[in-house]
């Protein structure tokens, strides 16, 4: 029966597993015990790695990479907004949502890769500072959740069938959740600069 459930409801089983894992992590205070062990890695990132060295020594390189990070985030925001506002029936109503979803996903993947790569460089330059910032960890969590949500939940559902066969309320809540999580990533990222 369990194997039947696992084979027919893989996504749901995966979601239950993740929720249980998070609950256990919080229950046994794993975060508090893992957090101090990350400090050496962050210090290595800033003071010993070449990306940290480049970021600290050449301020203009750091600023340029940050600008590229911003541009890639703007592209992510654009693709997310166009797709999700179409799912909400606000924009581009005369173009099939399947076309919009498939057409923007490639652009989203590329810009997310660039954002993550440039983000690592930016974090490395100030690694000893961001380690102690709660807003940085919230951004990382939001980024992880947003990426997993996009690649394992949203896209598989939207690619599995015609959108007219999916309950409109499911599409709406999917779109709102997606917009909210990526807004959180962007806002907390900007907040890091103010901390």
């Amino acid at each position: 029966m369990l194997s039947n459930f696992l084979s027919n409801y893989r996504s749901v089983a995966g979601l239950i597993f993740v929720v249980l894992a998070v609950a256990l992590v919080e229950l046994f205070e794993v975060r508090a015990s893992v957090y101090p062990s990350l400090l050496p890695f962050f210090e290595w990132l800033k003071y010993s790695s070449w990306i940290g060295y480049l970021g600290i020594t050449f301020g203009s390189v750091y600023a340029t990479v940050q600008a590229v990070h911003l541009i890639s985030m703007a592209i992510i925001g654009g693709t997310v907004l166009v797709t999700d506002l179409r799912l909400l029936g606000v924009l581009l109503k005369d173009i099939p949502s399947e076309t919009i979803t498939k057409g923007t996903h490639q652009c989203f993947k590329y810009s997310l890769s660039v954002a993550i790569a440039t983000g690592i460089f930016c974090a490395a330059g100030v690694a000893d500072k961001v380690y102690y910032m709660p807003v940085f960890w919230i951004k990382m969590l939001a980024l992880l959740v947003g990426s997993c949500f996009m690649f394992f939940i949203k896209q598989p559902l939207l690619n599995s069938r015609s959108h007219s066969e999916i309950d409109p309320w499911i599409l709406r809540i999917l779109a709102v959740a997606s917009i909210t999580i990526w807004f959180t990533v962007a806002a907390t990222g900007r907040w890091i600069g103010f901390s």
């Binding site: 995966g14 949500f149 949203k154 499911i170 959740a177 999580i181």
Partner: protein, 55 residues
């Protein structure tokens, strides 16, 4: 092939969206609350130190 409207992917999408939205709402409402409290504190300090009766 499962033709039910509520199949694996749909249930996962609905439940994960609800969980994510709930968590984010909790976070942002908390942030707005703490920001308002900070602003009240700052305003209170400003009024206190700009009061000519206090020196």
């Amino acid at each position: 092939m499962n033709n039910s409207k509520w199949d694996d992917k749909t249930i996962a999408a609905a439940s994960s969206s609800v969980i994510i939205l709930g968590a984010l709402l909790y976070y942002w409402v908390g942030e707005v609350q703490s920001t308002v409290e900070l602003l009240e504190l700052a305003y209170g300090s400003f009024k206190f130190f700009n009061n000519p009766m206090i020196f």
